[in-house]
Amino acid sequence: MSRLSRLASSVVPVYPLVGAGGRRVVEVLRSDTRVAVVSSPRHAAVLFEAGSLPPAMVEPARRVHDQIPYPRATVFCPAGSGESRLPGSVLVEPADAASAVLDTMRSLMRGERGSDPDFLLDRPPVEWKGVGPHGQGGEGMMGGKPYGRPMAAMGPDRDGLMLDAVPLTAGPFHPSLPAGLTLDVVMQGDVVQEVTVGPNPFIGAELHGDSQPHRSPIAEVENVRAQTLLRTLAHALSAAGVDSVAARLRRIALNPAEHSVRELTALSKAVFRGARWTAGGVVRLEAERLEGLGLGHVARASGLQEDPRNDISQYKDLGFEPVVRNGGDSLDRLIQMLAEAEQSMLLAQRATDESLEVGDAIDPYGASASIASSQALVRLVEDHLPGLEWGDAVTFISSLGIDLEQAAVHAVAGGRTDE
């Protein structure tokens, strides 16, 4: 193996495709220093499929696979019962995913393993041809369809201008959006003009998750809640560009029970400073409009005292009081996530063998994963995104903590499939 190849395979750049149950697998992978989880397939050499791919995500997965430059390899790590994956992927076990990824990369660099072939045809989507005999002419600015793609049509913008309206679909594997979320947006410049949220692709997939009520110790429930909140916050901070703080939060999130609350409190200033300029003042939500929708931390960040744990005696015995902030903008939602994670870690440490029934009311994956709140969150996105710049739009969505997989688990349990 040449020196250059050895250098290339010292840290493997990996792009994750998060399928059913894949979030947890990817989080564990991130903690390994031999693997760098990158935010674009252009920077990756290995495509890491975490969890089975729902049917609606197979075609986008093939496109992302083809967008990785040569030489490339695909690795599949199961995270549940499903086995739907891209053809030609190497099967690895969750326990040694990072080592397997490293071995695959090394065999790729040594030439023992050939580069994965393309799935899609190497052809532009539309014929590049105008009207005339030599391919010239036609409607629009340039005539014909340059490089096989039409130019954007124009639409009215403010100040009486007609500007190009670019329609695009931010797909299910977008690095800054929640896994599985598809947004059909029409942009003018960098401002979102229209948005439609696509259907939840996890409905109809083989899901990993249990929404049936069962007894769990409070400590376990609160640890899982802290883990979910910290990972959502870390994802939001990565989207804001503050990767160092996100990495520190992820390290605590690997096992919150092994860390003290003081470690998390020490990060609060860094979180605030990191998110202040991107998230401050972005989409202030009024408390009156969020009442009764079961929106969890989103409602509590706007001043509402809604928390299903209020009515449970075991929590009252542990001294539980809902954490509430006034303000309601994206920064408040992010700080609310951090404060609730601290509270959860504290409750977990105080709880003894107190068991309680876990079901729809006490969902450790944040109350915002229940079906009612998932539909309300989608409505919030569709109501508030038009008029925002794209950066603010991504900040707002990541502050909501949308979890489509958990929403699908609850939807299926509730017998509803029209999410």
Partner: protein
């Protein structure tokens, strides 16, 4: 000597540029396919090109800048002579600046500096 130094600089610069170009070609992974040339959106293809025009939303600030640039032009000859002219010149320029400052305050109130 100057010519020799110039030619030497030219050779070094051209050589460096060529070396970087050759290094790029040597590590080229190969031809790019249609998928690899397409912008990454998360799994779907963009239906149109992204060659679109952006609304310059800070145009009001640009107009104000031009106004004050013209004011600056007026102040250049004034700056040369106002010491000899004395208080009268200062008062006249002060009136001119005051009127323009009123314009800025009006624009500020009307939200010209908030273009988000």
């Amino acid at each position: 000597m100057d010519l020799a130094a110039f030619l030497g600089l030219l050779v070094v610069t051209a050589g460096l540029a060529l070396a970087i170009r050759l290094a790029g070609s040597a590590t080229d992974p190969g031809a790019t396919t249609a998928s690899q040339s397409t912008p990454f959106l998360g799994g779907f293809e963009p239906p149109t090109h992204a060659w679109s025009r952006f609304h310059i939303r800070y145009y009001a600030v640009v107009l104000l800048f031009v106004v004050f640039e013209m004011e600056m032009i007026f102040m250049y000859p004034w700056a040369v002579v106002f010491v000899e002219e004395g208080i009268k010149a200062i008062v006249e320029m002060g009136m001119f600046l005051f009127i323009l400052a009123l314009g800025v305050l009006y624009a500020w109130r009307e939200g010209a500096f908030k273009w988000q």
